[in-house]
């Protein structure tokens, strides 16, 4: 049978981007080891609603680790202690009865807080809009098998394309850099012949946008890779920097 647990939470509460925030203590006494961490917050919120308190706001959607909506600092680690796991798939069996867990939003200069644990990650969309695509309109595609792509290249491209855009990489980085996110898209497309055509233009536009959004630079801490729920490799960052230098000088 599932074990019953009492969990103490210290949660960041903040009403608006401008107002000061603070950690507030809560206790959930009917947690189960099979619960996900977000389900624990659901239970807490039902408790708060019942006592006419203000529930904790947090983003979540698919709850199966693929949409990238959720993102919390759990006990000081982006997405919590279990590696390669988004917080929606972090289960309470990773914790012990009686634990006190601190929960904070993903913090970065480029991710302003909306409310409580909800942050604004629209800077990521603007980086993709800068050139995170192949410029191909609907209808102008050749047959899908017209250009062979080696299995290895397709697999490696997929490794980078697996990014869910959650922002953990930024939250974990001492510089608040979005290098892993940006490099992942650049590498995904550069590894495929369809993306090669604009590769140089792409890297310059995306890196410039990343800087304009207020993300920091990369100092090779590799904290980003350690917290990435999809295990995306920092090797993409080195390629991005090389390609950027080349692209920026040939512009």
């Amino acid at each position: 049978m599932a074990k019953n647990m009492t969990i103490n939470l210290r949660i960041w509460r903040q009403k608006s981007p401008e107002s000061p925030g603070k950690l507030v203590d809560y206790t959930v006494s009917n947690a189960s080891e099979h619960m996900s961490f977000l389900e624990l917050l659901d239970v807490l919120n039902e408790q708060l609603i019942a006592s006419e308190d203000d529930p904790v706001e947090f983003d979540s959607d698919c709850r199966e680790g693929i949409c990238g909506s959720c993102g919390l600092m759990v006990a000081g680690i982006a997405h919590g202690p279990q590696q390669r796991t988004a917080v929606c798939q972090l289960h309470m069996r990773s914790f012990k009865d009686g634990d006190t867990i601190t929960v904070e939003p993903f913090r970065a200069r480029a991710f302003p807080i909306v409310r409580d644990l909800v942050v604004d990650r629209s800077a990521f969309d603007r980086i993709i809009t800068a050139h995170g695509y192949v410029s191909v309109k609907t209808g102008s595609a050749p047959d899908a098998n017209a250009i062979p792509i080696s299995k290895d290249a397709a697999e490696e491209a997929m490794d980078f394309a697996a990014c869910i855009g959650c922002g953990a990489c930024v939250a974990a980085c001492p510089n608040g850099s979005a290098s892993l996110f940006t490099a992942a898209k650049i590498a995904h497309l550069a590894l495929l012949p369809q993306g090669q055509v604009e590769a140089s233009r792409r890297v310059v536009a995306m890196v410039d946008q990343m800087e304009a959004e207020g993300f920091g630079d990369c100092s090779n801490y590799a904290e980003c890779e350690a917290v990435c729920p999809k295990g995306i490799s920092v090797s993409g960052i080195a390629s991005m920097r090389r390609a950027y230098m080349k692209g920026a000088f040939s512009k």
Partner: protein
């Protein structure tokens, strides 16, 4: 059942309100004939038309990107913080296309036939044929966008097989096909945002459709950060807001997936078709406790190599590894020798329920069956299985704590997809001119049951290759002088209603949370309008749902205020609409006195428990019109000129 519903049911003739506008001619030539004749809009004129696309999943993002590429002014709305997070992203297994790359006999006709048959002969032939025709273009388009599909060593695309088909026509990107196709569409959308052709409005929820002079003129949205209500006028509205599976509370849908946008359109006059057709997916991780917030799907592709079984003896509670072969019942292989573990979803789900109902379920709750990879691992090696399903196995282990390389998965059916939706004609236009409905939000292509790997195909077909043509037919007929702006009284009235509803929920100060109501509704629907339905249960459910609706407005408690980020306020509005929809689902299920696809009525089955369809009476689409009293039923009679509806057999 009320007398009014009963009397409307006696009108079984084809409703004149439901002209499907299917082009004349041979099935194979209809779409070409349509394209030959459809009005075009000149590039200069396209620039002067504003198109509103609600939703940014596969259907919405592909439509918005394509229409913007053609030159229209597009506004695209989504409820998530980014267009990239729409729930299409969670589709795992793959996308079908009649490419016939494996040379195993696939054709457009076969994909059409499998889809019609898979849908249990409750879909429109012409729409499904068109879907099969454009399926190949989707793969071409996705590859050109940089979607990293699985490949063979020679560099060509790989295929896998999927339920309901005897050819390999499913393209895939590991277990993340939906993610990769959505990111392709999202990137195409981003390209158009960069070009200034699309204005993207994330964290917006559509709260109403604005109808004036009998046409869709725009929408009312709520900014989910500031709480502000906004008016958006457009020449056409494309609703791409997904399905309503979350009516059951527990489903594989995302937490924000909801019916509100579609339900508001229904209340403004769009007919809702076949609401009782819901798909229960056979391979999901079972419920573990009362706190459960959603159910997680394990891709159907697992059934390619996984064998489904239960112990023959209900009292056999040994660990699965300790149960010898001769004490196991591989019931799908036994009952359906030719399709085996790859029977369609509805068949597999009901079979699992049947075993559990007979007491042979496994695990703590006894509501689960085994999905076992032992034979495949021994045949192919663990590394081959890891290549195919590695990420799914990891996900299973993360959630359950069990390692499927060592012990069989435990699975149980869960609500996954809804075939019903707003009624649309061949042009994907609803009964409100100017309101188009794409993807899962419409009812059109999957009949009473959707085959695996067909949802991605339909969403992208609608957005990339169908609506860009059919929208032109409507836009070309719009007179510019008629333009109704955001200051029109219809916008003011709709905005006021949306605001009043929010105030009513906030000011009620009752004692039950939105989630409590949602769970209660879910329980009612799962018990009475779930995997198996019967008259008595449905007749019990309808008044129970209606009293839940009354109770909602008496006892709802929504914390916080309207002028801020307020998740519970969003949930409350959606739950209110789910409750109303739940009643319509039950009424539709009660009216359909047959078993077909996802709709299984206990009264209509063979002695072996197989579904019994009634083509004489129910070969139709049931489209419901909202009125102030009871919903009124309209029927579109389905005619099968190219395939002969037969008893679906996977034996």
């Amino acid at each position: 059942m009320s007398d009014e519903v009963a009397s409307s049911m006696s009108e079984v003739s084809h409703s004149p309100r439901l002209d499907a506008k299917v082009p004349a001619g041979r099935l194979q030539e209809k779409w070409d004939a349509y394209k030959d004749a459809v009005s075009l809009v000149s590039p200069a004129n396209k620039r002067s038309h504003n198109i509103l696309v609600v939703g940014s999943g596969l259907a919405g993002a592909s439509a918005a990107a394509t229409l913007a590429g053609l030159g229209y002014n597009v506004k695209c709305f989504c409820i998530q913080d980014s267009a990239r997070r729409a729930h299409s992203i969670a589709a795992q297994g793959g996308i079908n296309a009649a490419k016939n790359y494996p040379n195993d006999g696939d054709t457009v006709w076969r994909l059409f036939y499998d889809t019609i048959k898979g849908g249990d002969y409750r879909s429109r032939e012409a729409n499904v044929y068109r879907l099969a025709q454009v399926s190949s273009n989707i793969i071409d388009q996705a590859v050109a966008q940089g979607v990293p599909f699985a490949r063979e060593y020679g560099g060509v695309l790989a295929n896998r097989s999927f339920g309901g088909a005897q050819v390999s026509r499913t393209f895939y990107a590991r277990g993340q096909t939906g993610q990769q196709l959505l990111l392709g569409a999202y990137q195409a959308l981003s390209h158009q945002i960069a070009a200034g052709r699309v204005t993207m409005l994330p964290r917006r929820e559509m709260l109403d459709l604005v109808v004036a002079k009998d046409r869709a003129r725009g929408i009312i949205t709520r900014d989910l950060v500031t709480g502000e209500l906004e008016r958006h006028a457009g020449d056409a509205v494309l609703l791409c807001t997904g399905g309503y599976g979350n009516a059951y509370y527990l489903s594989t849908n995302a937490k924000n997936s909801n019916v509100t946008a579609a339900w508001r359109c229904y209340k403004r006059g769009a007919f809702f078709a076949n609401p009782c057709y819901t798909q229960i997916h056979p391979t999901c991780i079972p419920v573990s406790g009362d706190y459960q917030s959603k159910l997680t799907l394990m891709s159907e592709s697992l059934r390619n190599d996984g064998r489904v079984w239960v112990p023959k003896d209900p009292k056999d509670t040994r660990a699965p590894e300790a149960i010898p072969e001769d004490a196991r019942d591989y019931y799908l292989e036994r009952r359906y020798p030719s399709f085996g573990n790859l029977v369609p979803r509805d068949v597999a789900s009901r079979a699992a329920k049947k075993e559990c109902d007979a007491g042979r379920g496994v695990g703590e709750t006894r509501l689960a069956v085994y999905l076992d990879f032992d034979a495949a691992i021994r045949r192919l090696g663990a590394s081959s299985i890891q290549d195919r399903y590695g990420n799914l196995f990891e996900m299973y282990e993360r959630i359950t704590g069990d390692d499927p390389y060592r012990t069989p998965m435990r699975i149980y059916p869960a609500v996954h997809y809804t075939m019903g939706g707003l009624w649309v004609d061949y042009e994907l236009q609803s009964t409100i001119p100017g309101l188009f409905v794409l993807g899962e939000a419409n009812f059109s292509d999957h009949g009473a049951n959707r085959l695996g790997a067909s949802a991605l195909m339909q969403g992208l077909a609608d957005g990339y290759f169908v609506v860009p043509y059919t929208l032109g037919a409507y836009v070309a007929g719009i007179r510019q002088s008629e333009g109704i702006s955001e200051s029109h009284e219809a916008f003011a009235a709709a905005e006021e209603e949306a605001g009043a509803r929010i105030d009513q929920m906030l000011n009620n100060k009752g004692d039950k949370s939105p989630t409590q109501f949602h769970r209660e509704l879910g329980q009612l629907l799962w018990n009475h309008v779930g995997m198996a339905r019967d008259r008595a249960g449905l007749e019990e459910a309808i008044p129970a749902i209606e009293s839940l609706r009354d109770e909602f407005w008496e006892r709802i408690h929504v914390p916080g205020s309207a002028d801020r980020f307020n998740k519970n306020l969003e949930f409350a509005g959606r739950v209110a609409d789910f409750i109303e929809l739940g009643s319509l689902m039950a009424q539709d299920a009660l009216r359909r006195e047959e078993s077909c696809g996802g709709h299984f009525r206990e009264e209509y089955q063979t002695s072996e428990g197989e579904a019994v369809r009634n083509d004489e009476v129910f070969a139709d689409v049931a489209a419901w019109e909202h009125t102030d009293r009871r919903p009124v039923l309209h029927l579109e009679k389905l005619s099968f000129e190219n395939v002969h509806p037969s008893t679906r057999s996977y034996k």
